[in-house]
């Protein structure tokens, strides 16, 4: 039966139908739903790993055991997992393995715009690139066939507009191949130099075989136009934009296998038309390959290597008519994302802002602490970068920055790659202060469990990491917990720990206000007579508070009664509901 599915959901369906038995991933927009959807099938064991490297190694272990496996991540997650990636390419597998990686052209929810196709070339692994949900399903199944035929993990490359677009798919039944028997084979799987030297030629031979396969692969196809003037080589969501704006006169070579690229197919296609244009987002991956084959193509001379495309982008670049609408002359103020009303991070960031501290930040909801009016962040680099960075910063300043600099990192990010940075602080002895923002969930990606929450991906109770004990075990003696809704407590803790003569960890602990089990309080009550328009309550950037006619107004539909604003009002104009009732 036909049904609508997100690209990610369809990819999960493809894993299911192909008999995938094991999924291990770390959440990251826009890849997260593949794993969440796979977890809904009782036949698939699915888990959140602490990071992408662990996820990929676990998926490899499952394949080594003879069962089809999957690991999923966003583009930057593949950087974390790059170490096992390059060597799994050498060992090959037992049962099929898919590595799902989702790029984010346009950076809707990412810190960079890297093009993950380069990993396929660098690690010498096949990569498939679907252009909609139906192909996400079909390519996931095809990927297992290729993986087992060529003894290599297959990269399934998504992008935001494929991952997060729904289109029509037709599901079918699950077919589970029998588990492959375990056969000890250290020459293939123990990658010490002697064995690895024998495996590298195998990898190169596999590349030649895969290139031959690509020539006739079912996922590469030519859509022959009525004229032989313009020919377009494209893939992924760009194919959809091309088909949207180009008529039947144009020939299209639609590539579903993006690495290795076919040679004869590209040469034959190019020679069948007078002009060849490559339409691809981000880097000139296909274009460069064509040039290496001696094909005269146009590509980045017409298209940008920055941001995502649309049908208008393609139309304009090809000199076709593009649509346009009428723009209002009115100045429309931007609406950037904000910390939610009741967000436990707000009180902590207000304190950092008030004390004018240098804040080395990390990846998560709390990155929004960088925005006005809090402006409480000085850098954000990558997962775990805050803790390692604060150590280097303080060492380079010969300790002069220790009393006014902190690192902030979320609970899930700390589990992902913050721990090793903290070990470095303890081991190499910098007097750094680290704040772990423990909101009991992985927030930004949409509420995933992690090793600190006490639950697993399937929602069952699980072992819970004791953060205080962990930090002490890593060598930090000063570890304390504060409630970020209590401004005084936050301020005291931060001042005392910055003043201390050794490294310390402050755990700012309160669950995300959006979690279903969190009991919200009644909205804060405003006394307009007492409000003197001082604007103190506006300094925390709460979306529930605004000034109307010079007086503070609370939006009852947003306010969670967290009470942070009531602690700032010196005139008693903002009160908790129960206090105002007395």
């Amino acid at each position: 039966m036909k049904t609508l599915m997100l690209g990610n959901e369809a990819a999960a369906r493809g894993l299911y139908e192909a008999g995938c038995s094991f999924v291990s991933s770390y959440p990251g927009t826009p890849s997260t739903e593949i794993t969440e959807c796979a977890a809904k099938f009782s036949e698939i064991y699915a888990e959140w790993a602490p990071n992408e490297k662990v996820a990929m190694e676990a998926a490899f272990g499952a394949s080594f055991a003879g069962k089809r496996s999957f690991c999923g991540m966003k583009h930057v997650g593949l950087n974390v997992a790059a170490d096992p990636l390059f060597t799994i390419s050498y060992t090959g597998l037992s049962a099929g393995m898919i590595i799902g990686v989702a790029d984010d052209a346009g950076m809707h929810s990412s810190q960079n715009e890297q093009d993950s196709r380069h990993y396929a070339r660098a690690a010498k692994l096949p990569m498939l690139e679907p252009s909609d949900a139906a192909e996400s399903l079909a390519f996931a199944k095809l990927a297992y066939e290729i993986s087992e035929q060529f003894d290599a993990p297959v990269l399934l490359k998504m992008c935001t507009r494929v991952a997060h677009s729904q289109s029509v798919v037709e599901p079918s039944d699950r077919v589970v191949p029998p588990q492959k028997p375990y056969i000890k084979n250290p020459q293939k799987y123990v990658m010490m130099p002697g064995n690895a030297k024998r495996r590298h030629p195998v990898v190169e031979e596999r590349m030649r075989a895969l290139t031959a396969y690509a020539e006739t692969a079912p996922c590469n196809r030519i859509e022959r136009g009525t004229q032989n003037k313009l020919g377009i080589i494209t893939s992924s969501t760009c194919y959809q934009y091309v088909r949207e704006v180009c008529g039947e006169d144009v020939s299209v070579l639609k590539l579903g296998m993006i690495y290795p690229l076919p040679e004869k197919l590209l040469l034959d296609f190019a020679s069948s038309v007078t002009r060849v244009v490559v339409v691809e987002e981000l880097d000139s991956f296909i274009e460069t390959h064509c040039r290496n084959l001696g094909i005269a193509v146009e590509g980045k001379s017409l298209f940008s290597n920055i941001g995502e495309f649309s049908q208008n982008t393609v139309a304009k670049a090809l000199g076709l008519p593009a649509n346009s609408g009428s723009v209002l002359s009115e100045q429309i103020p931007p609406r950037p994302p904000v910390m939610c009303a009741g967000c436990p991070h707000r009180g902590l960031f207000y304190t950092l802002s008030k004390r004018k501290l240098t804040v080395l930040g990390d990846i998560g909801c709390y990155t929004l602490g960088a925005a006005a009016p809090l402006n409480a962040m000085d850098y954000v680099l990558c997962m775990g970068g805050s803790i390692s960075g604060v150590h280097g910063f303080n060492k380079a300043n010969d300790g002069a920055s220790e009393k006014k600099t902190v690192a902030v990192i979320g609970d899930s990010t700390f589990m992902h790659s913050g721990m090793t940075g903290l070990v470095n602080i303890a081991y190499n002895d910098s007097n750094s202060t680290v704040i772990i923002l423990d909101n009991s969930i992985t927030g930004m990606t949409g509420h995933q469990q992690n090793p600190t929450t006490g639950y697993n991906l399937k929602g069952d109770p699980a072992a819970k990491v004791d953060l205080e004990a962990l930090c002490r075990a890593l060598g930090i003696r000063r570890v304390r917990v504060v409630d970020p809704y209590d401004l005084k407590q936050c301020d005291t803790a931060i001042q005392e720990e910055l003043a201390a003569d050794e490294a310390s960890v402050i755990i700012s602990r309160r669950p995300c206000a959006l979690l279903k089990y969190v009991k919200l309080k009644e909205p804060v009550v405003v006394s307009s007579e007492r409000c003197v328009s001082c604007g103190m309550c506006m300094k925390i950037g709460c979306p529930a508070i605004s000034m109307v006619g010079g007086k503070a107004v609370i939006d009852d539909t947003l306010c969670t009664g967290c009470g942070v604003c009531t602690q700032l009002c010196k005139f008693g104009a903002l009160c908790a509901k129960e206090a105002s009732d007395e």
Binding site: S109, S165, Q166, S167, Q311, R335, M547
Partner: protein, 189 residues
């Protein structure tokens, strides 16, 4: 048929994903090819959010470009104005007149523009403005604002009432079904 384009815009957390899900379900039963493009992740946190719904015989691009939308359903007034250039010359904006201040307005760095409905009309845009929030509250919950707006959108389509009702039943929890049906009816008035 030519591909029809409906853009649903609003503020993260207002329930636009449910509206697009409902619309997608309905269109699927009609046998159309459909693409629905959503935004997840960071921009959901109180930021400006956009969902594209496209349907027809064969739909390629998952996104709607400038000058292409037959309808823009806006959950908030400023967001309607922000996306007005996506409307076709003969398109229509259905807008909830509720105003939600963005952070630059809250901090005083910018002003919320006045008289936006009038300004859009003066620019030659067909605007169907309504207080969908109040109608939703009258139906039983402010959270049904999305369903009120779908009710208003239904006036411009030829789909039978029972098909909309079935799509609502398939999209909302059973205990809220009656309230949402009421919200839909209020929107369609």
């Amino acid at each position: 048929m030519k591909t029809k384009n409906v853009m649903i815009v609003g503020v993260g957390g207002q329930g636009s994903l449910l509206a697009s899900k409902l619309l997608g379900r309905l269109l699927l039963t009609k046998g159309y090819d459909i693409k629905v493009s959503e935004v997840h992740g960071m921009s959901q946190r109180g930021g400006s959010v956009v969902t594209y719904v496209r349907f027809g015989e064969k739909v390629y691009s998952p996104v709607i470009d400038e000058g292409e939308a037959d309808f823009i359903v806006s959950f908030e007034l400023l967001e309607a104005a922000r996306h007005a250039q996506y409307l076709r010359a003969d398109g229509r904006i259905i807008v909830n007149t509720q105003q939600i201040n963005p952070m630059p307005v809250i901090t005083g760095a910018a002003q919320y523009p006045a008289d936006l409905v009038e300004k859009m009309k003066a620019a030659g845009i067909a605007v169907d403005a309504m207080d969908a929030l109040s109608l939703a509250v009258a139906a039983g919950s402010a959270k049904a604002t999305n369903i009120v707006l779908m009710g208003r959108l239904s006036k411009y389509f030829d789909f039978p009432q029972e098909e909309w009702m079935q799509a609502i039943a398939d999209s909302v929890p059973a205990k809220f079904l009656e309230m949402n049906k009421k919200a839909f009816a209020l929107g369609a008035q």
